[in-house]
Every structure is written in C-alpha cells, then in structure tokens.
C-alpha cells in the first residue's frame, strides 16, 4: 500500500513514495528536512504547522502526505528564492518573535492575508492571524509588524 506522489515544493519538483497513513507534517520534517513546519498541538489549533498549499494556508498536521499529489506547497524555506523575504524582514525589524516557534506560521498567514486584502483593517488582521498562537510575545509586536507591512504595500501601490 505505497503510493508514488508528485508535487512541487518551494519551486522544485518532488517525487516520493508514501504510505497512505503517513502524515504530511512528518514527511515534510523527517523526510524532506522542511523543519520550519513545527509540530505544536497536532490538532489544527495553533497554526505552527502552517504551509501554503495552492495559494492557501492549511494545517499540515491535519493532512496525509498522499493528499498533496499534484499540488504545490510553499514553506518559509522557499520564501527567499520565491522573492518573498519582505514580510520576514519586517517581523525581524519589529522584534516580533522570541523563541520563534510560531514564526513560520505567522509569516505565511500574513502573506496570505496581504494577497487577499491589500489594505486590511485591524479587525481583518486579527481575524487572519487568530489561528496562530504565540506563547511568548503577547502579539503586540506581531501586529505592529503587520501594520507596517500594510503601510509599505500601500505606499508601493501609490507610486
């Protein structure tokens, strides 16, 4: 009961044999070395395992690896070469993380939000990040980083 799957990970084609019961998060971390994907709660509640699947953030802790056959995954590892470093840099500038365990998830959720809404309200930012939990920062710096990101995007658009 082994399946060949093919998918795109951070711009590269991947082919892999997996058992249907293998979890996506384990395959990413243990077999492909994608360790930005963190195992927090394993129940879909904390967002630490967030990946971008075909343009939308999803929980890799709630998927089997076989399900991603034919699909496209992005993780923070791929962001520099995909030209998406900006959000990361602003988060760093605002010192928005302490241990950083939640960081990849927050950055991916922020990116998805800004792709959907270029000028989100504070309420919309909070809603988009509500599924990402951080036990260290108290969220203040995170929200400030996103607010600055929004400002920058606005200025870029105005030019």
């Amino acid at each position: 009961m082994v399946r060949e799957i093919e998918f795109i990970l951070n711009g590269f084609n991947q082919t892999l044999s997996v058992k249907p019961s293998e979890k996506l998060i384990d395959v990413l971390r243990d077999r492909l070395g994608v360790t930005s994907v963190k195992y927090g709660c394993g129940k879909g509640e904390c967002g630490a395992c967030t990946i971008n699947l075909d343009g939308k953030t999803v929980r890799s802790c709630l998927m089997y690896a076989v399900e991603i056959d034919g699909r496209t995954i992005e993780t923070i590892e791929g962001f520099p070469r995909l030209g998406k470093r900006e959000i990361q840099d602003i988060y760093i500038k605002h010192n928005a993380f302490q241990c950083g365990f939640c960081a990849p998830g927050f950055i991916l959720s922020t990116e998805e939000l800004l792709n959907m809404i270029s000028d989100p309200s504070e309420e919309e930012i909070k809603e988009a990040l509500a599924g990402n939990l951080c036990r260290c920062t108290g969220y203040k710096n995170i929200l400030e980083a996103v607010a600055e990101m929004v400002d920058i995007r606005k200025r870029e658009k105005a030019l």
């Binding site: 249907p20 019961s21 509640e45």
Partner: protein
C-alpha cells in the same frame, strides 16, 4: 495506528462504487480536519480512505431553481468569499466566519461539518432555520432529506454505509428577512461552540430558532417559534420564548462549560440573536458578520 488504503476517484460514480464495496470500513475524506483527528485518536479506523477532493461536480456553489446549492467540496473560505452566500444566506455566511481559523476554513467544508454530526456542529443551526435539504446518493438511489431529520444522535446521521452526501440545497427566501448566528467560544480562532444559536425571521414575523451544542443533536425550538409567530418582539415575549427554549434544550457539562453556564448563555444569546435578526429584517442593521456577543 492502523494502516489504510487510499483512493482518489475523479467522478462520483466511482466514489459510490468504492463506498458500496467498502461500506462501514471506509471513510470519506474531503477537508479532513475532523476525520484526521478521529483516525488519530482511534475513534475511526477505516481500512479504505476515499478522498473526494478531485471530484469536480462536488465543487458546485450556485443558485438553481429556487435553491442555493452548496456542493460537498465547498470550503468555508469559499462560502465566505461568495457574494451569492453573503446576499442570499447571510446567516450561513455569518456562521462560517466563526468556524475555527482561516487555515482550517481553507480546508474544512460545511458538508463535512454536518456529516461529522457532533452536537456542536457549527453549520447545523443556520441550516436548520433555513429548512435546508440534504442530497444523499448511493449506487441504487438518490434521496433528499430535510436537515431537521438528518441528525439522529451524537456523531450519528441517517447516512447509510453506501451513501455520500453530495450537496445541501437551501431554499431561497423571497421578500424581506433577517437572520443571525451567535456563537459562544472561549477565544477567537477556536473551533468548538459551547452554545450556538440561529434565528430567522421574515416580514410576517414567522420565526425559526435553532440551537447547537445544548443537546444530543442540533435542534429547532418549535415551542418558542409558535409563541412568537406573527408578533414583533417585546421584552415579555422574549422572556416567554426563553422559558420555552430552556424547556427544550438539555445541555451537558463538559470540559468546555458547565451545564448551568450553558443554560444561562442559551437565554442571553437568544435575546441577542432574535434582536439582531428582527432589526436586520426591518433595517438591514446591524451588518452581518458583526460580533453579537
């Protein structure tokens, strides 16, 4: 964990054949956000996982012959992004926004939510107040069942082992109406309602009221609906309706909330929900999606 096999059919007929062949030892997979945990925790141990995600015809979201059709593959994010849902089924739109978090809503489906059939099923109450019909298919027949007859117990529905719930059809309402969904959760981004209530009202003051998480199955409250029929709300009427509601619901205590707290919140949340529904029917305010508690 048990090993299982996996298929990903492209057409519904193939999925139905697999379902007939594997019956109770198979599980249907769409967003997977509930099923995955059920398998992980040993509550389900399928030998065959039938992934329905690549079946195009289950992806429908359209208006057709007086109904809004929500296909089994429609995710909560797709419902929230749909102008059709926002304008014709605002109660379902409002409740969908309160399901878990964006990363879960991008995968989870409304049909998956009702098939999972936990007492707290988020989408049950807003579907109940709109008299939605669920479409069930098997190789031998198609049946259409009112959502009110769909749930039979905690995690139990009328679905047979060879059947697939392909879509939900929600009748359009002509004329003015207002509805509302109020959810009690612990914090934003969490998935489970401790109490959920939906209210619908039309311009003749016909009310429909439904609760989730306060009994073995999500339920309508006909006694309260009868009491209110034909009348605008007043504090006295609301109080009578609340008494009828408390007569009907039977919440349990669990890790999330005590029985007393749930009963108390049933009252409070009804007042908020009916107030918002009536006001929306008359004035279109408060806007849908505004937090009512």
């Amino acid at each position: 964990m048990l090993a299982f096999d996996y298929r990903r059919p492209l057409v519904i007929e193939d999925a139905l054949s697999l379902k007939k062949e594997w019956g109770v030892s198979s599980s249907l997979l769409m967003g997977g956000t509930d099923l995955f945990l059920a398998i992980d925790e040993g509550a389900r141990s399928p030998e065959m996982l039938i992934d329905l995600k690549n079946i195009k015809e289950l992806k429908t979201l359209e208006e057709k012959e007086g109904y809004v059709i929500i296909g089994a593959g429609t995710t909560y994010s797709e419902l929230i992004d749909s102008e059709l849902i926002h304008s014709t089924l605002p109660g379902i739109w409002e409740s969908s926004r309160l399901v878990a978090s964006m990363g879960v809503r991008n995968a989870a489906t409304l049909v998956g939510n009702i098939c999972n059939a936990v007492p707290s099923a988020e989408s049950a109450a807003p579907l109940l107040v709109r008299d939605a019909m669920v479409h069930l298919s098997s190789l031998k027949e198609n049946r259409i069942i009112p959502i009110n007859d769909f749930f039979t117990g905690p995690r139990k529905t009328v679905l047979q082992s060879d059947e697939i719930l392909t879509k939900v059809a929600v009748p359009l309402v002509m004329g003015e109406f207002g509805e509302s969904y109020v959810k009690l959760g612990r914090y934003r981004g969490e998935d489970i309602a401790q109490v959920g209530v939906s209210v619908f009202v039309d311009s003749d003051f016909n009310y429909k009221i439904a609760y989730c998480a306060v009994g073995p199955v999500p339920m309508r409250i006909p006694k309260a609906e009868d009491l209110l029929r034909g009348k605008d709300i007043s504090p006295e009427l609301i109080e009578k309706a609340q008494a009828a509601i408390l007569d009907t619901v039977s919440p349990i205590a669990d890790i999330r909330a005590s029985r007393e707290y749930r009963i108390h919140m049933c009252r409070i949340m009804f007042e908020k929900a009916v107030g918002a529904a009536v006001s929306r029917m008359k004035t279109s305010q408060p806007e849908y999606g505004i937090r009512l508690i």
